[in-house]
């Protein structure tokens, strides 16, 4: 092999970059997300049901919230009619956070894990969690 010094340096750099995912996480705890539904309001609900089905909310909550934002801010529409025919106020703080008052144990669980940075909090105030929860 000719120019072996340069070639080997290059190959070591290449291997270092390619195998980075393997050694980058060594010794770091892999905490799986576990969104919690344990809030005072949800605890008191007889039928634990969000405004739409659970799967719909998992898949589409971001689009729903985006549509709500546009409806309220741009079109002055504030009432959402769910698939089941129920009426809800289109409001993150009054409707969503009324039940999901645990942002850290609910929203942030998956968002942090998958490194999703929603820009909700550029306008909205984060829900104030109970002092009893001891997280805030």
């Amino acid at each position: 092999m000719y120019n072996s010094g340069k070639i080997i340096t290059g190959l070591v750099l290449f291997l270092g970059v390619v195998t980075m995912p393997f050694w980058f996480n060594i010794g770091k705890a892999d905490v799986k997300p576990d969104p919690s539904l344990d809030t005072p309001v949800i605890r008191q609900m007889k039928v634990k049901h969000c405004i739409e089905s659970k799967q719909f909310m998992i898949d589409n909550h971001m689009e729903l919230l985006n549509a709500w934002r546009n409806a309220v801010v741009r079109n002055n529409k504030t009432i959402y009619v769910s698939t089941a025919g129920q009426y809800f106020t289109m409001s993150l703080e009054d409707t969503c956070f009324h039940c999901h008052s645990n942002e850290k144990q609910f929203c942030d669980q998956c968002h942090t894990y998958a490194n999703i940075q929603p820009y909700c909090w550029e306008c909205h105030v984060k829900p104030v969690e109970e002092a009893a929860n001891g997280h805030r």
Binding site: M1, Y2, N3, S4, I7, G10, L11, F14, L15, V18, T19, P21, F22, F24, N25, K28, D30, V31, K32, P33, D59, N60, M62, E63, L65, N66, C110, T112, Y113, A114, N115, I116, Q117, Y119
Partner: protein
Amino acid sequence: MKIVVAFIVVLVLAALPYAGIQYAGMSTVFGIIIPYAAVAVFILGVVYRIVKWARSPVPFRIPTTCGQEKSLPWIKQNKLDNPSGTAGVLGRMALEILCFRSLFRNTRTELREGPRLSYASSVWLWLAAIAFHWSFLIILIRHFRLFSQPVPHFINVVENIDGFLQIGVPTLYITDILLLAAVLYLFIRRVVLPQVRYISLVADYVPLLLIFGIGLTGVLMRYFFRVNVIGVKELVMGLIAFKPHVPADIGTLFFIHLFLIATLFAYFPFSKLMHLGGVFLSPTRNLANNNRMVRHINPWNYPVHVHTYAEYEDEFRDKMKAVGLPVEKE
């Protein structure tokens, strides 16, 4: 015909994981075994190709010189286009690798009425190439969010810049559009220009279509048919920690994406895609033009047995004297 073959190849590659996951439940094969195998083939294959290239001797400097060579002190040298030392070579290589400078200098030759020959700068290929390669790199860096926990801040910076238009939810990434548009342009260029189509092989179409398939499945997953991102990250984190398991309900689209990437990785060392390593080893770019300053000895020279005249005369002196031939030493 070659285009059709390439299309069929990529469609079959996309159909394999679909069938495997949907009908055969082979999530272990497509989620664990094939990705590991592909990465192993990629790493070993690239190292093999580089070492094989490095075994070829380069006995003489063969840089393509595009400017004034280093000469008398009052003649200005073109240090980038005719480098005479390491600094010039580094500058030339950096511009080549980061900016595709030689592609930028591409010219189009036309015979016009008159007859008049005209040369014009032709930057469309360069523009598409640079958009494609840089988008690909940024997308690759963005994917690191699925490979690390906690995610380094640097990734967030890249994501925020890439998504700063804040169009839609999830935010539209500029590089997603650029990559697909650039690959499409490069493909159409190959098909539409008769000269380029004439020299194009199946191995030219397949990488383009494969990368387009990867980009398309990625865009579909992000913007249209959601997959379970949390499941995807669990799978990836398991793979890189060598504790693989496939979470349920990730979505078939993800496995198509993953299989196409695995194919690209495994195909990489055996294809034109090896220009990733080749660009660093191109002797017409990475050598300094110092043929007149440094003596380069042919590395495959072997010691030649020589028989000098003095030795010849020593051997035959008596015989030479006997027939009356003149000798240098009595």
